[in-house]
Subunit: 280 residues, 2 copies
């Protein structure tokens, strides 16, 4: 019997539908909300799915309301799921800071108290959520992954660790080297402890340096992003990719910042990029 | 000397720029925020301007963040201004209800205490804001007007009362007959008093019935809009327009609701509609 999904809202948008659901996550030990866009093609055939991982403080709603992705996704026949960014609820550990705890799960499996009890977003995104979605929606098993900022880290890290599960990876302004920048060092030390070797399992620069299988990767970075030089530093990943002859398409986008105005300007190109591999 | 604009934020989006400004409104007697999108053409020529009037509870941000209008506006060379929906501030009268007071200005000039002191959104939108914008931005004097729900009422009402100032009107799910529906009756009685004759100066059905000059009008309504049958009833306006041989293009959009998912699905068509008249 399929796990239960509780519908929360649904909206017609372009030729498809946006839905929000709540479900109980066994992996996270709490109720979770996610949103899914189903293109019109899903009414009579199975479709590929793009995972969108959002950034710090976001829920399922930020991308769905602000990215302007649905006209292109409807045309290309791509479903999009937007999970939440952490476990949620009164019983889930949290912190007053915006960059730790609820809204800041960093898409990893925590090992340290008080986080280890619920913060298992890696297993949720890689295992539980795809299984749940495959039970309930007409998906053809082709998955791509994308995200923004902390979610760009999530997309790169999860894609690099699971090259057989995803056709392609893209990211907007990703954290590529969390073990070496303040946002990442704070999160990794709290969630994983002080042994920095343990952090490398979730660091895209380290993962890329040890990768043997190449996935198509597209990264966009705004030149006016206030987090660019301290927290993001995409050149670190690009430099390793060049040494490895790992083909990454990296684009510095002049004058764009870290906001959804940046994302909405290029999301259609990311969807076309993924479409080429999802529908090969 | 031009009135002062205080810049609050700016974002590159597609080939244009989104800006937020604060200024002191003489008409409203308070500080006001607005947002403006400038297309790339504004860098070396003057451009036409679409006024976007938002619905209940909104600020300048809802449309700019959620409507997905900028790709098309950038291509067509149309600037878009999104004013706030009422006067704002601790000294401005308010009400606990979402449909009266701040966020619910109904784009009229109030005559009743405690509202009359600040609630003069009609004069703000028709006089003060266009003058301010013309001082600061490269506008060519061609204005169109559009809006959603309460802002659809505002767009129709202001356009019908000022056919020489606007080339064209469009609306999403507008309140067309506020004197006869609960949202409108509540607002009009508080802002204008109990003489229902006074309400007709702001009622699009009454204005259309007495109009002698025809503007192009486009109206979209979602069939799954929960406010459709009680608060909106666009057929009332369409019926009067047919009697008057006033050409209104009215489209019932199956399954769409009252949200920005509806607006983002058709905003490009509204921009093309206005473009045809703004650039004649």
């Amino acid at each position: 019997m399929p796990d239960q999904l509780q519908p929360l809202s649904h909206n017609k948008v372009f030729d498809g539908w946006h839905h929000q659901f709540q479900h109980h996550s066994q992996v996270l030990g709490c109720n979770m909300r996610f949103a899914i866009f189903l293109p019109p093609q899903a009414q009579n055939q199975s479709v590929p799915l793009l995972f969108w991982l959002s950034g710090l403080t976001c829920t399922d709603e930020n991308f769905m309301q602000k990215a302007g992705a649905f006209e292109t996704a409807a045309k290309l026949g791509i479903a999009i799921v937007a999970p939440d960014t952490s476990p949620r609820g009164a019983n889930v550990a949290d912190d007053d800071a915006y960059d730790l705890g609820q809204g800041a799960g960093f898409y990893l499996n925590a090992t340290q108290a008080p986080w280890a009890a619920h913060y298992r977003m890696y297993d949720y995104i890689v295992e539980e959520l795809p299984n749940l979605l495959s039970q309930h929606f007409p998906l053809n098993g082709k998955f791509a992954i994308s995200g923004h900022s902390m979610g760009g880290h999530g997309a790169l890290m999860i894609g690099l660790k699971n090259p057989d599960r995803f056709t392609s990876i893209s990211a907007f302004a990703p954290i590529v080297n969390p073990s070496q920048v303040p946002w990442g060092q704070k999160a990794l030390s709290h969630y994983l402890g002080d042994n920095e070797q343990d952090w490398l399992a979730y660091d895209s620069c380290a993962l890329l340096a040890n990768s043997h299988q190449h996935l198509p990767i597209l990264i966009d970075q705004g030149s006016a992003d206030p987090f660019y030089s301290e927290q993001l530093q995409p050149e670190k990943l690009i430099s390793i990719a060049e040494q490895m002859s790992y083909p990454i398409r990296f684009r510095m986008q002049p004058d764009f910042d870290h906001s959804y105005y940046f994302i909405q300007s290029f999301i259609a190109e990311h969807l076309h990029f993924h479409h080429a591999y999802l529908c090969q």
